[in-house]
Amino acid sequence: MTSNIWYTFIYKIKNDFPNIYIWLENANGYYDKNDNKFIIEVPDAFHKKTLDEKYKYELISILREILNNDEFSLVINVKPEPLFQTKKNNIPKITIKEKQITLPLETKINYIPNLNTAFKFDNFIVGNSNKFTHAACKAVAESPGQTYNPLFIYGGVGLGKTHLLHAIGNFVYEHNPSMRIIITTAEMFLSEVVRHINEKRMDEFKEKYRNVDLLLVDDIQYLKGESTTEEFFHTFNELHLRNKQIVATSDSPPSELKLEERLKSRFSSGIIADIQPPDFELRVAILKQKAKEINRVIPDNIIAYIAEYVDTNVRALGSTFKTLISLSDLNNVEISMELAKQAVKMTNPVKEFSKKISIDMIQQVVAEYFNIKVQDLSSKKRPENIALARQFAMYITRSLTDYSLVQIGQYFGGKDHTTVMHAIDKIEKLIEKNENYKVLLNELIARIQK
């Protein structure tokens, strides 16, 4: 029986001690709880000798970490010879390791991936804020499993993560149609696991997922449920061990995900690429591209206006752009600055107002309201009123701006993102329980937005 401990172990060995891994490739191991022994079975005495003499110390220290146990002993055995003695020529040896061979049946399982062919590398506009991620995706698509594996892409909503994920899929599918590609979302993965468990068809599920060459998972932050994460973890390990490419996207870096630690550390072991909101130049480029796609000429000043005011993400740019075009078409009027302002207002109502909301302003309003100094908000002081003010300020910053937890922590005196999370959590509970806090919050927001 190959246990999870063995997987974890061999995974670590493979990554960190390739020189030892070559001696363990055909080995198997398991932990014997009763005797508190970890037993590794190798194919022959030579392997045993090498491991015993050269690597036993390393093996023990790796296992100590995995087993979280200082007391166990490590035993390396040559895979037991069949215990059997046969007395007669004609009688075969029956060993424990006998294995029924399976027919190499091939079913035309539907491996045509569910890719959105509109998302290609060609129509992804590259700028400063996404060029690294774009390059990483391109490299992965060109040689899946060989360069950056796993590739983890994170960034805010509408910045093109899904576009890149499908672009990788489309590229690989075009260039290597025989490769088995699965593109899914964490939610689809979850519902698939649940369905297969219910129908007692997990074997099929495992066969499907563990035999792919490229696994693309969108919105991994939504992965949840014990059996689902367990299943994903094993799928991940098996694919990674066999050098199959895994790409996942998320709204935040692995470290901030609410996932199991072991899964986070798996993702952290590969390449992590973030997409930042587009800068002004990129926003202009995107709008120009959109205009080109529909063959419309839009004055540069109008493009600049939109690009300046719609600064959050690519999707918002797109919808503002579309609204502008519709307004023009429906009302049969020329595209003008007036129309552009209307379109921006319609599609980005809050954003337009909150446009100028900076952390500074939030801090100022909050400090004033609580009658403390602005610096106190970034200090480590803990008197109740200061702490509460700081938590409100963090909460409001998170609500009204696009800063990440990490960034907010930075702005508030280099605090950890967990501190920020805790603050947000606390305020959420406060306003839920006590009407007064809700009133206070609304008052603060009103003052900030004024």
């Binding site: 075969p92 061979i101 399976t102 027919l103 190499p104």
Partner: protein, 368 residues
């Protein structure tokens, strides 16, 4: 509604219909049996929504028509009735009174309209008619090789292909594969491929007769398939998945061939299997010149060795199989001799009837 039936007329049809009732269904009406009392016939219908059966009963006398569904308990009740006339009659509440001599039973009826059954689609694609014996033979020859569990749904049934005058059937559980093809008199216009669920196949085998004269009609639809005999009509869903490419795994080239008396081999394997361990039913076949040794050994328990005279003049060769897979095929085919074709202890073995090509059984060895 009123009709009178002799126990002998109605008891067996009810027993058959009970095979098709859903067990533990959450739809209460499905644990009922539908009676359609027509002018001259009573139809008994039951279903689990994957498969449904309609059994036509000729009865003593039909006085009034009607349609109603009764709890499946009626099956056991009728079975316990004496051999006498049984009167079925609806009362004013549409419940059914069943009387026989001094026994008086009342069954609360479900409205027939609430009884859902499997319906063929509107468009029948084709109809094939063939003697029941042929279909029985086709199914018997392969069905045992199908996967028993539904873990791989597409293997949990019998694949059947109609093409021109040919019928091809295949069943496999990925460790062995049974293939059979035959020619029938009728011709289908298009090629049809179905995976018939194993449950349907097993019920069919129970119902159809080993009779050359009696015919069965097979109606092909897109998502269901219908089997009609003189008095039973079965509609079954098909498994809507892809069947594996079995042609590709049928080995073509062999380096050795043995011809063996089937019954001798069967009884030897049945003895050797008694020695194998509960879990692994592995036995070993060693072919030597005109001799086959069948053996096994289990640590601390014992060993078996059987010797059979065969026709074989290849090199010595030894191969291990799951004994059950051998017994399955050996007891199914009825011919006196079988032929085993081999390449090596790691390659699939192929069993057929010497000199004939319509039946092929592939068995995967056990690596040791």
């Amino acid at each position: 509604m009123k009709f009178i039936a002799k126990k002998s007329e109605i008891s067996e049809p009810l027993s058959i219909s009970s095979y098709f009732i859903a067990t533990g269904s959450t739809i209460p009406v499905l644990s009922n049996i539908l009676f359609e009392v027509k002018k001259d016939i009573v139809n008994i219908v039951s279903t689990d929504l994957d498969i449904s059966a309609k059994i036509k009963c000729k009865v003593q006398k039909i006085e009034e028509e009607g349609k109603f569904a009764l709890n499946k308990k009626i099956v056991s009740t009728i079975k316990e009735f004496p051999d006498a006339d049984i009167v079925f009659q609806s009362d004013k509440n549409d419940n059914i009174k069943v009387t026989c001599l001094k026994s008086e039973y009342k069954f609360i009826s479900f409205p027939a309209e609430e009884f859902t059954t499997l319906q063929p689609e509107d468009k029948k694609l084709e109809t094939i008619k063939l003697p029941q014996r042929i279909l029985l033979n086709i199914l018997n020859l392969v069905s045992y090789a199908a996967l028993k569990e539904s873990s791989k749904r597409n293997l949990n049934g019998v694949f059947i292909k109609f093409e021109g005058k040919n019928i091809e059937v295949v069943a496999t559980d990925a460790h062995r594969l049974a293939f059979y093809k035959t020619e029938i008199k009728e011709t289908v216009k298009t090629k049809f491929e179905y995976i018939i669920p194993l449950k349907t196949v097993n019920e069919l085998i129970k119902i159809i007769k080993d009779d050359e004269e009696k015919f069965i009609e097979i109606n092909l639809y897109d998502k269901v398939i219908e089997f009609k005999t003189e008095n039973i009509e079965i509609i079954s869903r098909i498994i809507d998945e892809n069947y594996p490419n079995y042609k590709q795994v049928i080995p073509k080239d062999f380096i050795a061939k043995a011809i063996i008396n089937r019954e001798e081999m069967l009884s030897a394997v049945k003895r050797v299997i008694t020695i194998t361990s509960e879990k692994s039913k592995v036995i070993s076949l060693k072919f030597e010149k005109n001799k086959l040794f069948i053996s096994t050994a289990v640590q601390d328990e014992g060993e078996a060795l059987e010797e059979i005279d065969i026709k074989y003049d290849g090199d010595s060769m030894e191969v291990s199989y799951n004994a059950i897979y051998l017994i399955d095929v050996l007891k199914t085919v009825k011919d006196d001799e079988i032929e085993i074709n081999l390449v090596s202890s790691m390659n699939p073995g192929l069993i057929k009837i010497p000199g004939r090509e319509e039946f092929i059984y592939i068995i995967m060895p056990i690596r040791k």
